[in-house]
Symmetry: C2
Subunit: 333 residues, 2 copies
């Protein structure tokens, strides 16, 4: 295992220390239980957004804490759900009296722990709405999931709902918006290589020198099929076709196209993927009105990509364009 | 070789097509000869900045074209200098009557071709100033270089000089500023793994399962030494100590600290590196006033990191903070 780390057990703590040292203008980090809140939390009268999940998917979620996106993030150990006490402490730290939305990726541990935290928070008089993201069309159930897994649409939901909260939309409005983003978002990913969880020290799964995994999960969970390495055009078709046909996205639709790197894939390859996706959608009469290209929801150092489409309307587009200022995503501020 | 590409020979062209499709609001791409210019080029009365170099270092340079940074970038083949005709065409396309600064990384081919292009441009009545960046403290001469190589400081010079040009500073002022950034910037990098040039299909160099290369070049050129894998704290000390002691950076200095990923290294590791660098500089009484953490000058899918320090003054800080809007670096706009 070759990584830029010290002790495997200290990876999450030290990365959080690095974030705290790097971004005091944007966020604060609490240790024990671990959570990250925006520097000016709680913002009075604003709905607060809290997300979280296993570490190893950076910049998601901690890198999305800041103005116009998340109020708090709860990082678990690598590929391990955060605990309810992290979530309840984060929820209390950011509650500004207008309620809190929990954005939860659909993994059994995350869902269960966020449910417990929401109940505890309600017991303390905080209004909580939970929204589960389950946008991955690859498989129905999986190693850690009943139903579809939550992946790339989470990033878009956090950005769009963060903008709505900034506008002082109500708890019900922000939660409803988040559900709308989830309903209109679909994703699928693939891996060229496995990744290594630091505490394990060995690859999560084995993939031959000429093999790829289509429909991979962000923890290396099995996808739809393992097949021989193929040109980018074929790989993009394998990902985008099931995504497009699932909603379905149709001729005349305007979409946000998000080409994500899994952590070990450089920008030059992501632009080749984007080029193929652009051609494929153009042929179907689907217009990419906005895009996001980069590594935003990762699987440690895995090489690979995922494609997310979000069907846009005027409100979603306006909220996507609104200013955001976080370590991982920033514009207009 | 596992990459998200089609034919190895088409990598650069297709990545450029992807950029053109993704960012029509920011830039335009010309093919044959290949160059990228900002969407509103030429900007009348503004000094224009042109850079370029081999592809494989994305987002540098094409991803830094846009308001507040480069006016044009000339991408060569992977790890291959662009040609003078790319540079002269790009220079002519962005000249707004106030002169053009060529920002050149110190590699023999780049320097020679930019010199030829500058001469041709002057012959056509365009004022050109060239500034060579040579900030890599690892080695004096190398495989492709007489003198020190140009690495991470290039990114900072492009941002800072782009802001100065946007303020309508003169050709002499912008060129002088660029030299000042170079004089105050120092870098060193390391690799955990090699990278594979698509047309070659095999790793550029061999590194054992437990080996790292300290002082690596961005094309995989040999560095200072090959040694056994070590904890992040030791690796950061091996990079930062020669960097700090070269200028030298001293107690009381304010610096911009740039922790760069080489392409295959995820954010979680870069934050661990940043944490170590922050501690090391704090012990020496050097204050990190600004930072940049991410993969901005890469070596294809190489795993590794580089550290760049830039000694700041009020003007450099102000220009760093100014709005920028490019695919690779964006804030305040």
């Amino acid at each position: 295992m070759k990584k830029l780390i010290n002790k495997p057990d200290d990876v999450v703590t030290e990365a959080l220390q690095g974030m705290a040292a790097a971004h005091p203008d944007l966020l604060r980090v609490s240790f024990g239980p671990n959570y990250i809140v925006r520097a000016d939390a709680p913002v009075q009268g604003k709905v607060a957004l809290v997300s979280g999940g296993g570490s190893g998917h950076e910049p998601m979620h901690g890198g999305f804490v800041g103005m116009g996106m998340l109020d708090a993030a709860c990082p678990g150990d690598v590929f391990t759900s955060p605990t309810p006490d992290q979530m309840i402490e984060a929820t209390k730290a950011v509650d500004g009296g207008a309620g809190v939305v929990h954005i939860v990726k659909n993994y059994t541990g995350d869902v269960m722990n966020f449910e417990m935290a929401a109940e505890l928070a309600r017991g303390e008089g905080i209004e909580v709405e939970a929204v589960v993201i389950d946008d991955d069309v690859a498989v129905q159930d999986s190693l850690y999931t009943a139903g579809r897994r939550g992946v790339g649409t989470t990033v878009l939901a956090e950005k769009i709902c963060g903008a709505a909260a900034e506008e002082k939309q109500s708890l019900q409005q922000v939660a409803e918006l988040c559900r709308r983003v989830n309903v209109n978002g679909r994703s699928m990913g693939m891996a060229l290589t496995s990744c290594i969880v630091p505490a394990a020290g060995t690859p999560t799964f084995q993939l031959g020198e000429d093999e790829i995994e289509i429909g991979i999960g962000i923890h290396g969970e099995p996808g739809r099929e393992r097949r021989k390495l193929a040109p980018a055009s074929e790989i993009v078709e394998s990902l985008a076709t099931p995504v497009v046909e699932d909603l379905p996205y149709e001729e005349g639709d305007q979409v946000l196209a998000f080409v994500n790197g899994m952590g070990g894939t450089p920008a030059i390859e992501l632009y080749i993927v984007y080029n193929e996706l652009h051609k494929l959608l153009e042929e179907r009469g689907i217009k990419i009105a906005r895009n996001l290209i980069g590594s935003y929801i990762t699987s440690l150092e895995m090489a690979g990509t995922s494609i997310t489409l979000l069907k846009l309307d005027d409100e979603l587009t306006r909220l996507w364009d609104a200013p955001v200022r976080t370590p991982g995503l920033r514009w207009g501020a």
